[in-house]
């Protein structure tokens, strides 16, 4: 004997054999999951891209002005911050990083905005992984390394030796690199040395965008942070910087709120469609559930039947919704290189939680109705 297994089978047959209701339920949940996953994936992709430089450069500790809230809006710091950082106990080494925007004049005469990263001349700390050429060539005259990412084509697919102009200075491509993640703003990225960057690109009095610190050990990080704070600046670990950027986009721009609202709307759509359809299904069968009660079905058995119906439908809808969203993201990324959405475990987990809430809500209204029906009502007709 398999306790309750027959009950579940009956429950699922009752639901799945009612093809129109079952389809409506699946469509509702699938659609809601698709929308929720798409919204959250888009948000996750945007956040990942907004933090791309932090991951690509890979420093353990970043020193910056406390007012910096995202990688692209760096506030130049005076040179003494670099010197002071180097003298803090626990610092293995500290290097400057230039991070700025430039307008490139391409060979055909058109202009293209780009992000220029200036690496410390002596260490090249934060250098990218090369696909073509050698990183040492970055020290050559007018040398720049171009990142081959989704924006690469905007520079007319340059090769080693391709030339363009930056602020009336000649720039020559000496290598092609790859980055772990593309940036958020849809502009190509170029690497050069720190000194060339500040020479080629017009800048204010101070030129150091960030100071990158390699601590001697993890245990030294809090001390370094306190020492930097005394200087009136902020030292953040990679994860803290990523969190700061993510919080900025989530709470201080419209991006987070808008996507959250769209996700909530998708959730409500799924909740209403599946709740309403499931309720109608229960109402249509209420007499039969009452008859089952009269025959001898216990309350917990009827609850088990309804839960099985709601949760199995929700899980199938979840699978279909995630499948549809994944397919959409794969096709979109294939056709649109800039497409930012990325499917993460957190997104899948959150969508599953939301689907379970939908299933719980749908079963709750079904269970309430079924527990209310009295077998006596069946006799009374």
């Amino acid at each position: 004997m398999k306790p309750l297994s027959g009950i579940y089978r009956i429950a699922l047959k009752l639901l799945m054999n009612d093809k129109s209701k079952f389809t409506a339920l699946l469509v509702g949940i699938t659609f809601a999951v698709f929308l929720m996953v798409m919204m959250m994936s888009m948000f996750s992709g945007i956040l990942a891209r907004s933090c791309a430089p932090v991951y690509n450069i890979g420093a353990k500790v970043w020193v910056m002005d406390p007012a910096v809230n995202n990688t692209n809006s760096s506030i130049p710091m005076p040179d003494y911050i670099l010197s002071a950082s180097r003298s803090i106990p626990g610092v293995k080494y500290a290097v400057p990083l230039y991070f700025g925007s430039a307008l490139l004049k391409l060979k055909d005469g058109t202009y293209q905005a780009a992000t220029v990263v200036g690496l410390d001349d002596s260490t090249l700390f934060g250098r990218p992984e090369m696909i073509e050429g050698r990183i040492e060539d970055i020290f050559a005259e007018n040398a720049f390394v171009v990142v081959k990412d989704a924006e690469f084509a905007k520079l007319e697919n340059p090769k080693i030796g391709t030339e363009f102009e930056i602020n009336d200075n000649r720039a020559t491509v000496v290598g092609i690199a790859k980055a772990a993640s593309s940036g958020l703003f849809g502009v190509p990225t170029l690497y050069t040395t720190y000194n060339r960057a500040i020479t080629y690109i017009p800048s204010a009095r101070f030129t150091t965008s960030y100071v990158l610190i390699e601590p001697k050990s993890e245990a030294d990080v809090p001390g370094i942070q306190r020492a930097i704070a005394k200087l009136g600046y902020e030292a953040l670990t990679r994860d803290q910087f990523v969190k700061k950027v993510a919080n900025f986009y989530t709470f201080k721009t419209g991006v987070g709120m808008n996507i959250m609202m769209m996700t909530a709307i998708s959730f409500v759509v799924g909740l209403s469609i599946s709740g309403q359809t499931f309720y109608t299904f229960i109402l249509e069968n209420i007499g039969k559930f009452g008859a089952m009660k009269a025959i001898g079905a216990k309350g917990n058995e009827l609850i088990a039947m309804i839960l099985a119906q709601a949760f199995v439908t929700s899980l199938i809808g979840y699978g279909l919704g995630v499948g549809a969203a994944s397919t959409f993201i794969i096709i979109a990324k294939w056709r649109i290189p800039d497409y930012a959405a990325q499917l993460t475990n957190q997104t899948l987990g959150l969508a599953l939680v939301m689907v379970m809430i939908i299933a719980g809500f749908s079963s709750y209204i079904g269970v309430r109705k079924v527990l209310q029906i009295q077998p006596f009502d069946i006799f009374r007709g």
């Binding site: 004997m1 027959g6 009956i10 054999n17 008859a291 089952m292 025959i295 058995e301 069946i378 006799f379």
Partner: protein
């Protein structure tokens, strides 16, 4: 309680509502039904038949009185024990059959067996046997909506007897059938379903089937107003 009685109802009272709105549906009703007996409860609408049926089958709690089924006072049981009693001792045939339209005929019949936690394939096999008893084995895989009213009634009977109950309760079994089909159904029940280990209680208005009753209990205004014994059916 006599040795042959399967059920004994004593001094049953049931009212609905309170104060001036109180309506007494069953007034001090006592009766017994014996093994092998087909007992009819008849009377006009509003006479309390359905309320009495619900009380004796463990569905509706009386305000006063007791119901003893096979020596167990059912209204001293909790809800789960009552559900078990209904599942194991009582079979129901409802006026509108209440078959699940999305299940096949055999799956409908198997419901009491499934509720008894019988393994699926075994339940289906037994359900087919019960469908065979009511002459519908060849309709096993059809959905109830594809059957005639009489056939649906037979499916409901097969479902009612699938749990091997000692007491079968029929609520207006001929109400949804034409006269000829109704008679045939009750005749079938009398000759094939009723036996010396089982009692059948039928609530009906339909005087065309009175001839099949062993005893007819007449109700009016919540009270028993008389009995009639059908001497043609005396064994």
């Amino acid at each position: 309680m006599s040795e042959t009685a399967i059920i004994r109802a004593t001094n049953l009272v049931k009212w609905f509502g309170e104060g001036e709105a109180r309506t007494v549906a069953v007034k001090h009703v006592s009766f017994e039904a014996s093994y092998g007996e087909m007992l009819y409860i008849v009377g006009p609408s509003g006479s309390g038949k359905t309320t009495l049926l619900s009380i004796i089958s463990g569905i509706l709690r009386p305000n006063e009185g007791s119901v003893v089924v096979e020596n167990q006072d059912i209204w001293k049981m909790n809800d789960d024990e009552l559900a078990d009693l209904r599942l194991n001792k009582i079979g129901f045939v409802f006026q509108d059959y209440h078959l699940f339209p999305r299940l096949t005929t055999v799956e409908n019949v198997a419901i009491p067996l499934i509720l008894k936690k019988m393994e699926w394939n075994q339940a289906m096999k037994l359900a087919r046997d019960y469908l065979d008893i009511v002459g519908l084995k060849d309709r096993a895989e059809l959905q109830p909506v594809k059957l005639s009213g009489g056939e649906q009634q037979r499916v409901a009977i097969a479902r009612a007897i699938a749990g091997k109950p000692d007491l079968l309760i029929f609520d207006e079994p001929t109400a949804s059938l034409d006269g000829d089909t109704g008679r045939k159904i009750v005749e079938f029940v009398k000759s094939n379903i009723l036996n010396e280990k089982r009692a059948i209680i039928i609530v009906t208005h339909d005087s065309r089937i009175y001839e099949f009753a062993d005893r007819i209990m007449k109700m009016e205004d919540g009270k028993i107003v008389g009995y009639e014994t059908n001497h043609f059916n005396e064994k």
